[in-house]
Symmetry: C2
Subunit: 202 residues, 2 copies
């Protein structure tokens, strides 16, 4: 199982693995100041290298940000997978767990979450980006399939999955952008999610 590229072979260069270090630094900066509130110079400064150093590892600013977004998608996918698989309750429990997980991720990492969805222009045409996004949606479809009657067409699965996604995506953004004053507690949010799941899946 070989790793992607440019990892382990040499354990330490001049500054260790600057590439990975920068991605993590940018991730933190994105949370602190937002995607267009930080500068590569700043990230370089924090990493203790010159402002030109990042360009030895990334083609341009967009590429670093993209890497942070991609990692975010994967992180969310894993969390969603976990949430669905360890959900307890009735047959709709995994569905509402997925929703809660989605909202939770948005709340925990709003900067990266915004990055993952559209804020960065050009990402919509990035095939790798879309691929990882679809892997995420596959988890949703898998759970929808379990709930729907046997033999339900793939179109219908997709349609229900998309409805769920619309819902929870809107909720997540409205929440992190402070666009409503509902102020749901955890229990209320869980109830809302279950209510939604019921309405969509019935």
């Amino acid at each position: 199982m070989e790793q992607g590229a440019k990892t382990s072979p040499r354990a330490q260069y001049h500054h260790g693995d600057l590439r990975a270090h920068l991605i993590e630094t940018v991730r933190v900066l994105v949370e602190e100041k937002g995607a267009d509130g930080f500068s590569i110079s700043e990230a370089a400064r924090r990493a203790g290298v010159s402002s030109a150093a990042p360009y030895k590892h990334f083609h341009d600013r967009k590429e670093i940000v993209r890497e942070v977004a991609l990692a975010g998608i994967d992180r969310m996918r894993d969390q969603m997978d976990d949430a669905a698989q360890s959900a307890q309750g009735d047959r709709l429990a995994p569905i509402s767990a997925l929703g809660l997980c989605y909202a939770h991720f948005a709340r925990t990492e709003p900067g990266v979450f915004r990055l993952m969805f559209g804020l960065t222009k050009g990402h919509d045409e990035d095939p790798e980006m879309q691929e990882h996004g679809e892997a995420c949606f596959d988890v949703v479809k898998r759970e929808v399939r379990k709930v729907m009657p046997e033999g339900t067409g793939e179109d219908e699965i997709e349609r229900r999955g998309y409805m769920l996604h619309m819902f929870v995506h809107g909720h997540a953004f409205l929440e992190i952008d402070g666009k409503h004053d509902l102020e749901l507690g955890p229990a209320e949010e869980a109830m809302l999610m279950y209510d939604i799941a019921r309405r969509i899946m019935s």
Copy 2:
């Protein structure tokens, strides 16, 4: 009925109403290049003034952008009001018309739409911004109230309204950010909206 401020008294200055001219120029730029893809210098250049001129009318970049966003909210509110009031069909028609209108606005002015919702940090604490946003949501609540049984509590109205908002908001963003491959035609979108309205309002 006096007008807000700095309007009509003098009809023409050096360049006419540069303030309004700049807001419109920025609106166009936001659509062309995205909210963080344009510069004030560029707007000034297009308006034919020096790069320092805008700062005679706006405190800083944020303030211009805010003005564009505010105008966008008002524009959407008007469109929603129209859409709801001229909707034809059964009792749910105004609800699904509102959803279609929301999605249509997002598609027509994605740049401004993104501006209106969170992309610009600090807007969530802007009281005027929130006020205009609530005026928008009032239209939704008004239509929800018409559909719900007489005597329904305000909490329930708000809850249903919020569910609708979640839905359509998620749909709008997923669409303009190209995060799904569903490719709905107008008729299919209308059906989807109606389906949603039914599921939420029942």
